[in-house]
Symmetry: C2
Subunit: 128 residues, 2 copies
DNA sequence: CAGTATCCTCCTGGATACTG
DNA sequence: CAGTATCCAGGAGGATACTG
């Protein structure tokens, strides 16, 4: 039996679906979720895995994802401290879409780069 | 036979795959591509379809996607003018990932909203 | 190790008005 | 119809230094 509940769609402003898309529309969220798809990771593991991200921005990103229920965070009150991030069940539902996106990027990234600046309009000429 | 060419991966800074992800990391790109997945659309058709987008920002988004080879643009020199946008073959390769993301958002968007602000760390207590 | 604090810059994106 | 011009605010995100 298929589920046909549609709590809005991405074309409607301010509906949950649209807000969910906007949650992922930043530089790091997709990559972070992809990085967590294999299992829990610590802060510095993620930082080492994800090239170019700073400690500050990574922590920011993690907190946003945590606030929206995609990522869980557990901290051991050790010294030095140990933190673990992992996908929540809700976050797990994103693994498949995010993996598809990432695989697309790895296959077609170079095409996108090469296309840069080469585009021209197809101007149709009026006949007669 | 599978293709195993990997022009970088999304974890590497400044590699094409990462840049491709960043190309989509804005408020409108995913929704626009989803909106074009059924076929060509005119400027005002897209504007009507996509709630909340302004003419300016839509045009901006279309130009960026065009520059990177995901969207083609054809203009008839009519008065009033007629413009058509459609996915390029490269853009078509994004339809499946983008549809997955959108369907995820429509299914789980409300969960993401409800989760907002309810998150707490799972603080493990040291035993002994 | 896992962050914060601070500062700063760029860019996205919204509002409004105008054009061929 | 399909934009552009202009102005503007906010926030993402980078650099650096510091902390428990």
């Amino acid at each position: 039996m298929g589920v046909f509940i549609r709590p809005g769609n991405v074309f409607l402003a301010d509906c949950p679906a649209r807000l969910a898309i906007e949650l992922l529309a930043d530089k790091w969220s997709v990559v972070v979720i992809y990085g967590l798809s294999q299992g829990p990771r610590r802060h510095n593991e993620l930082k080492a895995l994800i090239g170019g991200v700073s400690s500050k921005v990574l922590a920011q990103t993690m907190r946003r994802l945590q606030r929206h229920g995609l990522v869980g965070r557990s901290a051991l009150p050790e010294q030095p401290s140990i933190t673990q991030y992992e996908l929540t069940p809700l976050g797990q539902t994103l693994v498949e879409p995010v993996e598809m996106l990432s695989r697309w990027a790895e296959r077609h990234g170079s095409d996108v780069l090469e296309a840069h600046g080469e585009q021209t309009d197809a101007v149709a000429v009026t006949s007669g």
